[in-house]
């Protein structure tokens, strides 16, 4: 019961942040609302017993990637989006949320029809924290044994990304 309530609160935060991202004109506002979304997502992860993932979400995603975004926004000092004269504000005001809600309803209907909503997850066990599911130790076991190769490959990927970013952003002399 508590889980359900918590879920709805955090879900509302997510959706609100997402829609705010769309609505705001200045990119810095959009970036900040995305941080709100990420934060609430991390809380939902905790609800699902994914402790490690929740931590990584906050530390890496919200704390590093989004900081990078904010930094670039401030560096470039781009202003608000300029609205083109012939664009319709009504369409965007009404259409976008309508689309989103429509999709949500579709998803709900589909999951009801396919019986997914009878599968319940979460609950007291999860909320109390399990010692074997979702903690860093368990994740680490899996990561460094079964999925070692992809792990190493992603480290190379990060290396390449670093080099690429350095080369691309370098000022021409």
């Amino acid at each position: 019961m508590l889980a359900l309530v918590l879920f709805f609160i955090f879900a509302a935060l997510c959706v609100g942040g997402a829609i705010n991202l769309l609505v705001q004109k200045h990119p810095i506002n959009s970036a900040l609302s995305l941080i709100v979304v990420m934060g609430s997502l991390a809380l939902i992860y905790l609800l699902l017993g994914a402790e490690f993932v929740a931590a990584v979400q906050v530390i890496v995603y919200a704390g590093a990637v989004m900081v990078l975004f904010v930094f670039v926004i401030m560096l470039l000092n781009a202003g608000e989006e300029v609205r083109l004269p012939h664009e319709s504000r009504v369409a965007t005001m009404l259409g976008v949320p309508a689309l989103i809600i429509g999709l949500g309803i579709t998803a709900a209907v589909v999951s009801h029809l396919t019986g997914l909503d009878r599968i319940a997850i979460g609950g007291p066990t999860v909320m109390n924290g399990s010692d074997v599911f979702g903690n860093p130790q368990a994740v680490g076991h899996l990561l460094f044994r079964n999925y070692l190769l992809p792990f190493e490959v992603t480290s190379i990927l990060i290396l390449i990304a670093i080099m690429g970013a350095v080369v691309l952003a370098r000022r021409e002399e």
């Binding site: 992860y45 975004f69 952003a169």
Partner: protein, 100 residues
């Protein structure tokens, strides 16, 4: 007990928001933010299914998604900076030198 479908619906909504922003917005950075939003929505799906199936592979995959998202954000922002230096604008409609 939260039904699985609720998580999936939330994931769908987040993903849809991301797609909408990706298509509608004109500021390149906002478009990137929408992409990140899409990725987050997908992450939620993975974690939800991992909890339902009681397998940790979902978490692993979320971990990799985050790594890739980070790398992609870094490189993408570098590109934006490079383009901004020459075009002096963050409006994608202005970056159209290849237009016929």
């Amino acid at each position: 007990m939260v039904p699985l479908s609720y998580y999936l619906v939330l994931s769908a909504i987040l993903f849809a928001c991301g797609v909408a922003g990706f298509l509608i917005k004109r500021n390149i950075i906002t478009i990137f933010l929408s992409i990140e939003l899409m990725l987050n929505g997908v992450n939620l799906s993975f974690v939800a299914f991992a909890a339902q199936l009681n397998k940790l592979e979902g978490h692993i995959f979320v971990f990799f998604v985050m790594v890739v998202a980070a790398a992609e954000a870094a490189v993408g922002l570098a590109i934006i900076i490079a383009v901004f230096r020459t075009r002096e604008t963050l409006n994608v409609d202005r970056v159209n030198l290849l237009k016929l």
